[in-house]
């Protein structure tokens, strides 16, 4: 592969022999994320978040990361509190209407302790899409007239064909995209059930893709439903099997988000602020030491209940 987008072209010139088997452990996969990297997070808000990968990056002690995502949940706060991220690029940060905006995240931004770049949902999506298309920018009718047009550095132009006013957004090339899917083969062909969000665009926009899957299946199992494949193998660098890999966030049809956990997290941070976030990280990242151990801590009862709730909503 060789991309005409300069930021990607340099990367693509390197040898990218497409290995037949890209399976590895999660701690090996996150070695692809380096300090200072621009990391794009797949899924949306608390849906199909690559949660296991995010916790593993925190465990690896990365610093100076830029995180980008269409809508961000409380992972934003965890990365700021740990000193892992120093900049966020997104269209929205919150946990959801019932829980409001992460309190410590607000403190960081209001006190200027982290950089924050706000785009609209579509304009950020089109930035990934431009990179995915191999073009330096895309036009849109969003952002026109708003102050987001000014603060983001988007540009305006008159269409050379019709004279219409348009807003232009620049291609966004993440160093690494983290994507969690329902199933993949060992080479990285990835299938998503339900809403794809922006994952296809992220995978094609990024230099490196770390894929986690609920299940690794033989390639033949994908061939029968190849129309469901959202990410082709040649875009993917690492494949890790992680059942419940989005938990406590949801994975369409497989498990619902664990709202009680959100309640507990918000209560902890409301009461103890930054210390509450540290306490949460200690309990879910440091002490368990691995995602499997975190799930054991959660317990089979909860996992089965969340699975039952998902199956009720999305009957097979």
């Amino acid at each position: 592969m060789s991309s005409p987008v300069p930021a990607l072209a340099e990367h693509d010139r390197r040898d990218r022999f497409d290995r037949r088997d890209k399976r590895m452990r999660l701690d090996e996969a996150v070695q692809l994320v380096r300090d200072g990297h621009d990391v794009a997070i797949g899924g949306c808000l608390y849906s199909r978040t690559p949660w296991a990968t995010l916790l593993e990056i925190l465990r690896a002690g990365r610093t100076g990361l830029t995180l980008s995502r269409s809508l961000m949940c409380f992972e934003a706060e965890l990365f700021l509190a740990r000193g892992a991220a120093s900049k966020l690029v997104t269209s929205w940060v919150g946990i959801g209407l019932n829980w409001g905006i992460p309190k410590l995240f607000r403190e960081y931004i209001e006190q200027g302790r982290a950089e924050y770049e706000e785009w609209s949902h579509l304009s950020l999506g089109l930035r990934y899409e431009a990179a995915a298309m191999g073009v330096p920018f895309l036009p849109t009718r969003s952002l026109l007239g708003s102050e987001l047009a000014r603060t983001t550095g988007a540009k305006e132009m008159d269409c050379p064909f019709t004279g219409e006013r348009l807003c232009l957004v620049p291609a966004y090339v993440p160093d690494v995209a983290l994507i969690h899917v329902h199933r993949a083969d060992e080479r990285g062909n990835a299938q998503i059930d339900g809403p794809p969000y922006m994952d296809r665009e992220l995978a094609a926009a990024a230099k490196t893709v770390i894929l986690t899957a609920e299940q690794i299946v033989p390639t033949e199992a994908l061939v029968a439903s190849a129309d469901r494949t959202a990410v082709p193998h040649f875009l993917v660098d690492a494949v890790v099997e992680v059942p419940f890999g989005s938990f406590p966030h949801e994975c369409y049809g497989l498990y619902e988000a664990w709202f009680d956990h959100f309640d507990q997290y918000v209560a902890l941070v409301d009461e103890h602020g930054a210390k509450g976030v540290e306490e949460y990280l200690r309990r879910t990242v440091d002490e368990p030491g691995s995602f499997e151990a975190f799930l054991e801590q959660v317990g089979v009862g909860v996992l089965l209940e969340q699975r039952r709730r998902a199956q009720e909503l999305v009957p097979r």
Binding site: S47, L71, L97, G145, Y197, E256, A310
Partner: protein, 269 residues
């Protein structure tokens, strides 16, 4: 059946949605109003959520908290990508865009980004999400929010989602030709825009509310339409459906889904 000002607001919003149209709805009150319309007078109203869900039929009591979780996808006829669903909006496929607002000004500009100086914000808010995109492209924009002085301000601190900008034809001149805001629904009133100046004006009052009360709760000099109408009270049918959507009879005592506190109860005549 007794009702709250919050009920009156959601019901008034639902009545604006006509059958056979497509509404791009944010979660909270916009979604609640949309599903209510679908259950009552607009069975063929197509709801779209920014998670990529087209035509969902949500389960009463299980409305989604976020725009992208699987509860919101229930019964959808298409689960599209996020970019795709916004591009349908940009293409002009959606009749209504329905959003909330933390701050709204005289010309219907909406702020959901920052309170105070944008360079060093006093309060960081969640941000645009899809709101900027929705109000830039859907044909008719409805904005639903609580009526408070601190929300209805002369000029928003930051234009996240453009209304009529400086008024007059400023919106069209900025290149926003896909649609325009037409209604603002609050827990006190129904507002519209002066066709020439494009300034907000009072057009309807919920039962028991006076124009004076609305003006007192507005942070700028609110104009009145020539004939300010009295909005009909929510009917028993509307209120029962609303309670089912919120999750059963006990839901009447619960916090409304967008976290706003019910200020008063008014009994229907």
């Amino acid at each position: 059946m007794s009702w709250t000002v919050e009920d009156a607001m959601v019901v008034a919003g639902s009545r604006l949605l006509l059958d056979g149209r497509v509404v791009f709805a944010g979660v909270g009150s916009p979604l609640l109003a949309s599903v209510l319309a679908q259950q009552l007078h607009a069975p063929d109203l197509t709801i779209v959520l920014e998670g990529g869900f087209i035509g969902p039929r949500m389960i009463p009591g299980k409305l989604p908290i976020s725009t992208n979780e699987m509860r919101g996808a229930h019964g959808s006829v298409m689960l599209a990508g996020i970019i795709d669903v916004f591009l349908f909006a940009q293409r002009g496929a959606f009749d209504y865009g329905f959003v909330g607002a933390a701050q709204i000004d005289r010309f219907g500009n909406v702020n959901t980004s920052v309170i105070g100086d944008p360079a060093s914000p006093k309060v960081r808010l969640p941000g645009s999400g899809g709101a900027n995109d929705i109000v830039s492209s859907c044909r008719e924009i409805f904005i639903i929010t609580k009526h408070e002085r601190r929300r209805f301000v002369e000029r928003v601190d930051f234009i996240t989602s453009p209304g009529y900008l400086d008024g007059g034809d400023a919106r069209e001149r900025a290149g926003l030709v896909g649609g325009r805001p037409t209604r603002v629904i609050t827990d006190l009133a129904l507002l519209g825009f002066d066709p020439r100046t494009r300034a907000l004006r009072l057009e309807g009052l919920h039962p028991g509310v006076t124009a004076e009360e609305v003006r007192d709760n507005t942070g700028f000099d609110l104009q009145l339409a020539d004939d300010v109408v009295q909005l009909p009270a929510p009917t028993t049918e509307e209120l029962s459906a609303l309670r089912r959507l919120r999750g059963g009879p006990e839901a009447a005592d619960e916090q409304p889904p967008d976290g706003e506190v019910v200020r008063s109860e008014v009994a229907t005549a």
